[in-house]
């Protein structure tokens, strides 16, 4: 694989000698002007938990702001590497954070459009010789001016098959991560362990990805908060008993295989809504308005998770 060092985009104008004038830089005004706080607040509101991730995002946002101020003051800085890797178990908010990240980068002027293009192996790797390059190029072009989010990135690399076309996609990605750094931010996502082996097998990626963010699993309390937020947002209502039942449900569910954090919570709530609807229809008659929004304990308790001896089945 050919390593292409970036053709240095030399600035047209020579920077004014640093320290030539001691100007005062108003950080507060710059911070307010950049709307970072709004985006961070939104992040705080939308995402439960994930303290470390939020901290890292704040750091990255600060770095970008400072880099911009430095540039305005004529202090040359290398453009920070913005490619990132998000590792964590399913349902820990990787895609959601990626969306927010695109917004933040857009707000700070580091990407021009701030859209997120989600791609998986299928979108990048072709079926036959010569099919991969155009496909990868399409995805890269579509993501230009925004963020290219590659979910389960390790599937690109299949060491067991040396004729696999994934390598071609990887090389193209590496090339544009280097040469189109100003036009494109790439975020690679996937399980931690597998991403680790992926990076070891592709050192080019590892060196080009500046920020490694690890998404921790949610705690029970956080999952409950997520559930409440989801219920609230969909204009449903869990009563006290149902809430307790749901907590018990989560405790049991977390021990089962294929637990996917927030996604499992959402699926469980969807099924609870299903059972509520079935219960209401079965009863028929005239009901008060609140009953339409009310999720009762029986709806939660009817889940198969509560029945002993079903360990190993998928969710329900």
């Amino acid at each position: 694989m050919k390593e292409v060092t970036a053709v240095g985009t030399a600035p047209d104008t020579l920077p004014t000698a640093p320290g030539s004038a001691s100007e005062i830089v108003d950080l507060d005004a710059a911070y307010r002007g950049s709307n970072i706080q709004q985006v961070l607040d939104e992040l705080e509101k939308e995402l439960i938990g994930l303290g470390t991730i939020k901290g890292r995002i704040r750091e990255i946002a600060s770095l970008l702001l400072i880099a911009r101020l430095r540039e305005e003051q004529g202090l040359t800085t290398d453009k920070p590497t913005l490619h990132m890797s998000f590792t964590g178990h399913p349902g820990t908010g990787k895609t959601t954070v990626a969306l927010q990240m695109a917004k933040i980068l857009h707000q700070l002027g580091y990407v021009r459009k701030g859209h997120l293009v989600v791609a998986t192996r299928d979108d990048l790797v072709g079926q036959y010789v010569g099919h991969t390059a155009p496909k990868t190029k399409e995805a890269i072009k579509k993501a230009m001016g925004g963020v290219l989010f590659i979910d389960e990135a390790y599937y690109l690399y299949r060491p067991e098959n040396e004729r696999d076309y994934g390598q071609e996609a990887i090389e193209m990605l590496l090339q544009s991560m280097e040469n189109q750094r100003d036009d494109l931010v790439v975020i690679l996502a996937g399980y931690k362990e597998r991403m680790h082996t992926f990076f070891q097998a592709n050192p080019g990626f590892h060196s080009r990805v500046g920020n490694h963010l690890d998404f921790p699993d949610y705690t029970l309390e956080e999952l409950m908060k997520i559930a409440e937020l989801m219920v609230q947002r969909q204009h449903y209502d869990l009563d006290e008993k149902a809430r307790r039942a749901f907590r018990e449900y989560l405790v049991l569910r977390m021990r089962q295989p294929h637990f996917a954090n927030a996604r499992s919570v959402r699926n469980a709530l969807d099924r609870i809504k299903l059972r509520q609807a079935a219960r209401l229809i079965a009863r028929g008659g005239r009901i008060p308005r609140e009953e339409l929004a009310h999720l009762a304990e029986v709806d939660v308790r009817a889940s198969r998770v509560f029945q002993a001896g079903t360990v190993g089945t998928n969710e329900d």
Binding site: R112, K113, I140, K141, K142, M144, G145, Q180, D183, L184
Partner: protein, 141 residues
């Protein structure tokens, strides 16, 4: 002789930054952008060859510049133009079209007069470039 076809053709050739800004304007108007090239500069030649498919789903001019630059690399000595196609119902036409690349040397045209019946004269434009077969008109490009 500088061929003047399409928008901006009486201006000096656009710089890449200017081309980018025009592409941005197209994108803002949701026009689909396509790149076409030819080595037959006759003004009535409306069938230029397509460089890839029209780009309907791109959001950023950088992606189109990438295609444009690869077209330039392949055909440095051809005319290349960027078209913005307005796909709205009742419009459905090219709304903006401008040349972004031209051969180093443009031999220009000659006016041919053809005498026909009753001393009528018919005029036609003859492009010197087309005297050679396509593909060999402007160097190897």
């Amino acid at each position: 002789m500088k061929v003047t076809q399409g928008t901006f053709s009486y201006l000096p050739d656009l710089t890449d930054a200017q081309i980018k800004a025009q592409i941005q304007y197209c994108l803002d108007n949701e026009w689909a952008i396509s790149i076409e090239h030819t080595d037959d500069p006759h003004p009535r030649n409306s069938y230029w060859e397509m460089w890839g498919l029209p780009m309907f789903d791109l959001k950023d001019p950088a992606a189109i510049m990438l295609e444009l630059n690869s077209c330039r690399k392949t055909f440095p000595n051809r005319y290349i133009k960027v078209n913005g196609y307005d796909r709205r119902y009742t419009k459905q036409t090219v709304a903006l079209s401008f040349i972004v690349n031209r051969p180093a040397e443009e031999p220009g045209f000659r006016l041919d007069r053809q005498e026909s019946a009753d001393r009528q004269v018919r005029y036609t434009l003859h492009s010197y470039a087309t005297e050679r077969p396509s593909g060999k008109r402007y160097g190897e490009g």
